[in-house]
Symmetry: C2
Subunit: 162 residues, 2 copies
């Protein structure tokens, strides 16, 4: 539920880079979804941004625990231990103004530290703790792959993929 387009882009890219499968975005932003689809076309994997005209139906339709990240919630560590067994998790982050319903219909309200900070940072920490950071190497269907280096930049280009 981010609003500022640059922040929402960071949120989507961080979600993808740290292993999320899908981002539901309310309100929908087709231009942003298309920009992220371009990143996926270049860098691989199956991440997608799905516009969500009604955020409540996404929350109610979740097949696993719904985790709302908020500085007012319960501490992270015990929550992570309970989430470790879930096979599908919906992590919800809001912008500056979050509807109060969200606190009630989420399964758990979790704080990545009880200080004002950034939904991008909070999401990144939770995903890293749940899934780890993906290693180097080509993502499925990638046209571009980083070749890790001590200095400078190297990118391998796979030709022949459409």
């Amino acid at each position: 539920m981010g609003r500022d387009p640059r922040l929402t882009t960071h949120l989507a890219l961080a979600a993808r880079a740290l292993g999320a499968e899908r981002m539901y975005l309310h309100p929908p932003d087709p231009e942003l979804a298309a920009r992220i689809a371009d990143v996926v076309a270049d860098w691989g994997g199956g991440f997608e941004v799905v516009g969500a005209p009604e955020w409540k139906s996404v929350v109610r339709g979740a097949k696993g625990p719904v985790v709302h990240l908020t500085m007012y919630g319960r501490p992270l560590e015990p929550a992570l231990r309970r989430l470790a067994r879930a096979t599908e998790i919906l992590v919800v982050v809001g912008g500056a103004k979050v509807p109060s319903d969200l606190y009630r219909i989420s399964d758990v309200n979790v704080a990545v530290g009880h200080q004002p900070h950034s939904e991008v940072a909070a999401l990144a920490v939770v995903l890293e703790r749940l899934l780890g950071v993906p290693g180097p190497g080509r993502w499925a269907g990638a046209r571009l792959t980083v070749v890790p280096r001590a200095r400078g930049k190297k990118v391998a280009v796979t030709k022949g993929t459409p």
Copy 2:
């Protein structure tokens, strides 16, 4: 070295919330530094944003390892093992366009995943892995402290502090 003020604000808040002591900001942004100082006045701790007219002198003056976060760098996990013993670390994040000198004068270029994502997310993951997430409780000098709750928001106000 962020440029977009909202993203730089997120970067500063995430740095503070996840245990950094100081942020050097190039180019300097006194208004942003003042906004963060207001957060510190409310929520405590000693974090500060210091304007850095010349970023190279900050990097060269660092007392510990200089870690540049870039998707082109070496994988995170081995780098973290080497950093675990350092008592002071300078983490450098850039915006879209990073001067190539930075790759050379940093001690190590480290990738939090080798995918395009967000400097806010990358910084958050590194700080969490180095320092952990601070628990609930009052930060030194705080006027406001979150009282963690399963639902809704509760903030304790300490009166009598200036």
